[in-house]
């Protein structure tokens, strides 16, 4: 199985006529069983098509054309228009929104997230590459063209959650090379406020029978690792977790932001050092190097199996 998406998931691409969105649409159509992209939305472009996907002015038109509720949307519109696009999708019944756009002010993100939760919808991102279920479906630019995505991602027991889109692929490729496939890999985005954090994805992976371990990529800034540590402890998670912490050099440079908007160290709790301590206190293994991750995952899985026998 997988989390969030599967071969039957229908979705639209908002901003589909943009250069990157056209590529993204091609990639998703080509990957695995072929994504069920039932429409695209760009205001003023009704009647066009992108790689055979019909383009509409509104999400409402896309839903009417499809004749049934649409599960998801990939949003690739410029930052100033993202909030409206996301509200439009959710107001028209979309339950899973992947926001690719970066540089969206926090206030807009917070509005979208609260609106989503009030409507029973979920946001992944912003500033993310989306979701991939190896060999089945990808929703977003994650892994790139189908041929490249197939090189890095293979089906298997590891759930991957990452604040960096590129590192989602780097870690998955390393796992694949060591014979460890992925159940679902989620690029959750690099901003200070994001739709879905590690702790908010854990219940889904916990309930997924295919998933036997979790690998996370994390950075300084924010408190979402503390939240993950608390979740793992409070819920006696069955899943061993291996974390990789990048940006340790930032501890010496408070107030500076590197890599992603969310990485700024504003207090002691935000530092790499403090986060590593917290993760380890919750029983999460922190890998020193990416190439150490596969063995640590194998050890984690073996230890849990040993414990339950």
């Amino acid at each position: 199985m997988s989390i969030l998406v599967d071969a039957d998931t229908t979705f639209i691409v908002q901003g589909i006529t943009g250069r990157e969105a056209v590529n993204l649409t091609r990639e998703c159509l080509d990957y695995g069983a072929g994504a069920r992209i039932v429409g695209g939305v760009t205001p003023g472009r009704l009647g066009r098509d992108v790689h055979g996907v019909p383009v509409f002015d509104t999400v409402q038109q896309a839903v009417e054309h499809h004749g049934a509720p649409i599960d998801g949307s990939v949003v690739t519109v410029p930052p100033a228009f993202t909030r409206d696009a996301v509200l439009e999708a959710i107001a028209n019944g979309v339950k899973l929104v992947v926001i690719v756009t970066e540089r969206i002010p926090r206030r807009d993100v917070a509005v979208m997230v609260e609106f989503a939760s009030a409507h029973g919808a979920r946001i992944i991102g912003p500033n993310c590459l989306g979701i991939i279920v190896p060999d089945v479906v990808k929703m977003g630019g994650i892994g790139g063209p189908a041929r490249d995505a197939a090189k890095a991602y293979t089906p298997g027991p590891v759930g991957v959650i990452s604040r960096s889109g590129g590192m989602t692929t780097e870690m998955s490729s390393t796992l694949s090379a060591a014979g460890l496939g992925q159940s679902t890999a989620v690029s959750i985005g690099g901003d200070a406020i994001i739709g879905t954090t590690y702790a908010e994805l854990m219940p889904l992976f916990e309930a997924d029978e295919q998933t036997e371990a979790i690998v996370i990529y994390t950075e300084p800034g924010g408190r979402m690792e503390a939240k993950l540590s608390a979740w793992v402890t409070d819920n006696a998670s069955r899943l061993p977790i291996v974390a990789f912490m990048a940006g340790r050099f930032m501890d010496e440079m408070p107030g500076m932001s590197f890599g992603h908007a969310g990485t700024i160290v504003e207090g002691k709790e935000d530092t790499a050092t403090e986060k590593i301590t917290r993760l380890q206190a919750a029983g999460i293994t922190v890998a020193e190097r990416i190439e150490d991750i596969p063995d640590l995952v194998k050890q984690g899985i073996a230890a849990r199996k040993g414990a339950t026998v």
Binding site: E20, I142, G166, A177, G190, M253, G255, T263, I290
Partner: protein
């Protein structure tokens, strides 16, 4: 981006929150005139974008305009945490009955703004125990009852409560209206006559909101060239921004200067962080941090590589990224080789290692082979690539 105190006071005042009579001065004689206008004893406060002014001697007291001029002259010369002041704020010394703290910031975990209020003002809020917190909805503008609940929760009642409610509500609204990440009045003072004034204000605005807050920034006279980072941008860093701004395709910039000898052309966001750590872990001394991603043009990749190669003290560059999906390997390869050639260098000598696997890698590797540049595919980890880079200089 952080605002100076004198700017923060302007923002607060425009939002309808009373502030103590004050003036901003860039010279000692301007400070004297401000003190004369205010009349009576004043406080001279250094205008720097850093904390710890009091400890560093950047806050002085003066009873007369003469003394104000003298103290201001000294404060204007005083560097604090590497920052020279932009001027001084000359503030009246009010008769304070009670100091409060009022702030609004983001709670990233709850994904909502939160009002923080205390009746122990004037000190660092982290050290205060008696604190009221009230989270705000994102879907409606801040309402007075929300501010009232925050204030009443620490036991404030009577006239103080009714006078504080509109002030704290306005603070919450300006936080939202101006895309602040922190809007703080500390201390918020109750004077002997029962009126309330902001005696200090600290505002931080989100960088991402700068385009849509242009009206406010124009009103305050803050230009695009003022980055307002924790550390002021160096010439090298500004040159990096210029490289990135030459076209809108992808990113090749976000440069931060360090004093090592190994130039880095690295990406993307997470990859840059991972690689920078790895180079240092292997004893390498990076000359810079930077980011490439989002499929930059050849010109941009070339511009960034040239900038890094031209930095005094840089011996070689390492070109490394995590596996790329939308950035094309061949485009980056062409850009960095071109940079070497245009500067009259042999790419095989100057590029310590090229490790970018992913989209269009076969084409990229062919270019590198032609010029004899050492390269690696995904079978070589980021860590191993960083080790090779660090040992090449």
């Amino acid at each position: 981006m952080r605002f100076y105190e004198y700017e923060s006071r302007q923002i607060v005042q425009c939002a309808g929150i009373p502030v103590s009579p004050h003036g901003f001065a860039r010279t000692a004689s301007e400070a004297r005139r401000a003190a004369e206008e205010i009349g009576g004893p004043v406080v001279i406060k250094s205008q720097v974008l850093t904390g710890g002014r009091m400890k560093a001697g950047g806050v002085r007291f003066a009873d007369t305009p003469d003394a104000a001029e003298r103290e201001a002259a000294q404060v204007l010369e005083l560097e604090i945490n590497g920052h020279m002041p932009r001027g001084v704020l000359v503030d009246s010394r009010a008769a304070v009955k009670q100091e409060y703290y009022a702030g609004v910031t983001w709670d990233g975990t709850r994904k909502r703004p939160v009002i923080i209020f205390s009746d122990e003002g004037g000190i660092d809020i982290e050290e205060v125990e008696h604190v009221g917190r009230r989270h705000l909805s994102n879907l409606a503008p801040p309402s007075e009852y929300e501010a009232k609940e925050a204030i009443a929760s620490v036991g404030v009642t009577g006239r103080a409560l009714t006078r504080l409610v509109p002030i704290v509500t306005r603070l919450a609204r300006l936080f939202s209206d101006y895309d602040m990440t922190l809007a703080e009045i500390n201390p918020l003072a109750e004077l002997e006559d029962g009126s309330f004034v902001a005696l200090d204000a600290h505002m931080d605005m989100e960088n991402e909101a700068r385009p849509r807050q242009k009206a406010l920034l124009d009103a305050l006279g803050v230009g695009d060239e003022e980055t307002r980072q924790a550390r002021e941008a160096t010439e090298f860093e500004l040159a990096g921004e210029a490289v990135d701004a030459q076209d809108h395709r992808g990113v090749a910039g976000n440069v931060t200067e360090f004093d090592g000898d190994l130039g880095l052309v690295i990406g993307a966001g997470g990859g840059s962080l991972t690689l920078f750590d790895a180079v240092r872990a292997h004893g390498g001394r990076p000359a810079n941090y930077c980011e490439i991603g989002g499929n930059p043009s050849v010109a941009k990749a070339c511009g960034l590589a040239k900038l890094v190669l031209s930095k005094p003290g840089v011996d070689k560059i390492a070109v490394m990224m995590s596996i790329v999906s939308n950035t094309r390997v061949d485009i980056v390869a062409r850009g960095v080789v071109k940079a070497c050639l245009e500067l009259g260098h042999d790419p095989a000598e100057k590029i310590a290692i090229f490790r970018i696997p992913g989209a269009w890698e076969e084409e990229g590797f062919k270019i590198l082979e032609r010029y004899g540049v050492p390269y690696a595919d995904r079978s070589v980890s980021l860590n191993e690539a960083a080790r090779r880079a660090a040992s090449a200089v």
